[in-house]
């Protein structure tokens, strides 16, 4: 079915696809099963899954930035650290309930990310990437000078240690699972919103989008703030899981490498991609854990190869370049006579005008 044909017939605009209903049917039992985790799984397994959940949140947030907003940040560790330190400071030093401290830490990250965005947005492309990194380094260097945050040696998270270990781990597990649901749901709703349509336009051509009345900078800023908050959420999960926050590790640029690999390998610009990517990343990390840093070498090579030859990542391969969608964010024209036929979407066109460039 081609567009021309459909234009002459009564056309219906649909958002959900058959596969997205299937997706809902598949995901609901998986979520229910995961929610029962603390009753089924051992503590070690739960703690591992918290790591996976935090990777999914981080990947989802980085994808929001790069896949939708077109911004490659290698400085999101700033917000991971703010979330982690924020949780520990609010809960331990201020004595606020830890489960209230998490949203507070996230809000603090959001508030800080707004002025930071004005600095970072003065740069674009690769320079934006390094600029965000410098900002993360500055945040780290400042934290290292603050005695109330344990300066260079870091802090331990004490507030939750009153709980029995089993209970504490279960709470952190549920919290992390909720965080995943929130991160994915926020991305999904954002992309289905009017704003989301604008993001797609920005990703495809930010100049054209601007001329059509999409408020490019404002949209990007919203994405940047949300991604900062999401990364802070992941940071607080990491702190609650490990009970220790140190500046050198929580502000490590390695987190950015993880996020980039997760999104690129999974499939950039889709909601499913980062989830798939996080699972692949986590599996490789566990599987190759006896071989030192080789997993990062392999992941790096994989990311390079995928960027060059398979730009839609593993999810693109699974879904047949967008035919299957668990999260229907686009619009599709459907000929009512062929209700379940799917329009084959075209791969984004490269710069076709330059054959030898």
């Amino acid at each position: 079915m081609t567009i021309q044909e459909s234009a002459t017939m009564p056309v219906k605009v649909r958002r959900a696809t058959k596969s997205s209903w299937t997706g809902l049917a598949v995901m609901t039992p998986i979520l229910i099963l995961l929610a029962l985790g603390p009753y089924i799984l051992g503590r070690g397994m739960q703690q591992n899954l918290v790591i996976l959940f935090s990777l999914i949140v981080l990947g989802t947030m980085w994808n929001l930035l790069a896949g939708y907003g077109g911004m490659v940040s290698i400085g999101q560790q700033a917000y991971i650290g703010i979330g982690a330190y924020g949780l520990v400071y609010i809960a331990d030093t201020l004595g606020i309930d830890p489960f209230l401290a998490v949203p507070l830490a996230v809000i603090i990250a959001g508030v800080l990310s707004l002025p930071i965005s004005f600095l970072a947005f003065r740069l674009s492309g690769g320079y934006f990437a390094i600029g965000t990194w410098v900002i993360a380094e500055v945040v780290k260097l400042i934290v290292e000078q603050m005695d109330v945050l344990g300066a260079g040696s870091g802090v331990s998270f004490m507030a939750v240690t009153e709980l029995s270990p089993g209970r504490r781990i279960a709470y952190v597990y549920w919290l992390s699972l909720i965080a995943v649901v929130i991160a994915v749901a926020v991305t999904y709703l954002l992309m289905r919103s009017r704003l989301g349509l604008g993001f797609t336009a920005i990703r495809d051509d930010s100049v054209a989008a601007g001329s059509l009345g999409v408020r490019v900078t404002r949209s990007k800023r919203i994405v940047y703030v949300i991604a900062g908050m999401g990364c802070a959420l992941a940071g607080s999960m990491i702190a609650a899981n490990t009970l220790r926050v140190q500046p050198e590790s929580i502000f490590s640029v390695e987190y950015s490498a993880f996020m980039i690999f997760i999104v690129v390998i999974g499939g950039i610009g889709t909601i499913e991609g980062p989830i798939v990517g996080a699972i692949v990343f986590f599996a490789l990390q566990q599987w190759l854990s006896d071989f030192g840093l080789w997993y990062l070498v392999i992941l790096g090579l994989l990311a390079i190869i995928i960027t060059l030859v398979l730009p839609r990542g593993i999810w693109g391969l699974i879904s047949g370049n967008g035919k299957i969608r668990l999260f229907p964010v686009g619009y599709r024209l459907v000929n009512p006579l062929e209700r379940f036929s799917l329009i084959k979407e075209k791969a984004p066109v490269g710069d076709g005008g330059a054959p030898n460039a």
Partner: protein
């Protein structure tokens, strides 16, 4: 007087930063790509120098003659094999590919050389200095680095403005499709640009390894300093990059004079201040000056 000394040392340090940043500036100027592996490639050059001097007993300053062409060769191949395809892909591909490359190379260095710090032994020149008065002494090695930095930047600038290939690079930078209509093979011109950039990185990396202790992850700081020098000076201007390097060097040296822990932070803050109040850099102009 100790402040004057800090400023002087900062200026000399800036020469090294300018040398480190020149390749980044050149690649961006010609291809509009930011090579995120730039820092770690400087560290690769430092390891190469270390290997030649420490293991093969090549005289310290002779190793430069070997490292520069090796790095230039790596640059040429890297451009043809990896960066040209990334540029053809467009969008985020060049950033993602160079970032992936940085992670791969950093971790390979860790695997082969461990995380231990090393340095290239240079003998007496490392400690030689010219005594100006009781409190101010200028190290011979930092002075040599600074002079080399200025000479390299002047040389690159002359090459871009006067030579046939340099002109072709600027043409390709302006309009790559139109450049092809002039008989310019962009892919080859890009490869030459990256070869030159990495040759300079090779020189800078060896000087870095002679001046300081380095480890595989030292590329992170190197990339950040080079980047700050480029932005402080203004995009697309090699002389600006020199000024940016000097400003960054002074900021770090003066910061460290206040408190040793503030050196790098002071440099970062000066960078952020420039970004906030003069985002086009101190010396913004086109590549052709």
């Amino acid at each position: 007087m100790e402040w004057l000394n800090a400023v002087l040392q900062g200026i000399l340090l800036g020469g090294l930063y300018a040398l480190l940043a020149a390749g980044l500036s050149l690649m961006f100027g010609v291809m509009r790509i930011v090579n995120l592996a730039h820092g770690v490639l400087a560290v690769v050059a430092a390891y190469l120098g270390y290997f030649l001097v420490d293991k093969l007993s090549v005289p310290a300053f002779l190793c430069i003659v070997i490292v520069i062409p090796v790095m230039a060769g790596i640059g040429y191949v890297l451009q043809l094999g990896l960066l040209n395809p990334a540029i053809a892909r467009g969008g985020l591909a060049p950033i993602l590919v160079t970032f992936g490359l940085a992670v791969v190379v950093t971790n390979l260095l860790q695997q082969f050389f461990s995380a231990d710090t090393r340095s290239i032994q240079t003998g007496a020149i490392a400690t030689d200095s010219i005594q100006i008065n009781d409190e101010i002494a200028i190290g011979v090695f930092p002075l040599v680095t600074f002079i080399v930095g200025v000479v390299v930047i002047a040389g690159l600038q002359t090459y871009l403005s006067r030579s046939r290939t340099g002109r072709a690079m600027r043409a390709a930078s302006d309009d790559k499709d139109a450049a092809q209509l002039m008989g310019i093979d962009n892919r080859r011109i890009y490869a030459i640009a990256t070869a030159i950039a990495l040759g300079v990185v090779g020189l800078a990396g060896v000087f870095l390894g002679m001046r300081t202790q380095f480890s595989p992850t030292y590329g992170d700081a190197t990339l950040i300093f080079a980047f700050e020098a480029v932005i402080i000076g203004g995009l697309g201007s090699l002389w600006g990059t020199l000024i940016g390097g000097v400003v960054l060097g002074i900021a770090q040296a003066v910061g460290a004079q206040i408190n040793p822990a503030y050196g790098i932070l002071a440099g970062n803050l000066v960078f952020l201040a420039i970004l906030a109040f003069r985002p086009t850099g101190l010396l913004q102009k086109a590549v052709n000056s």
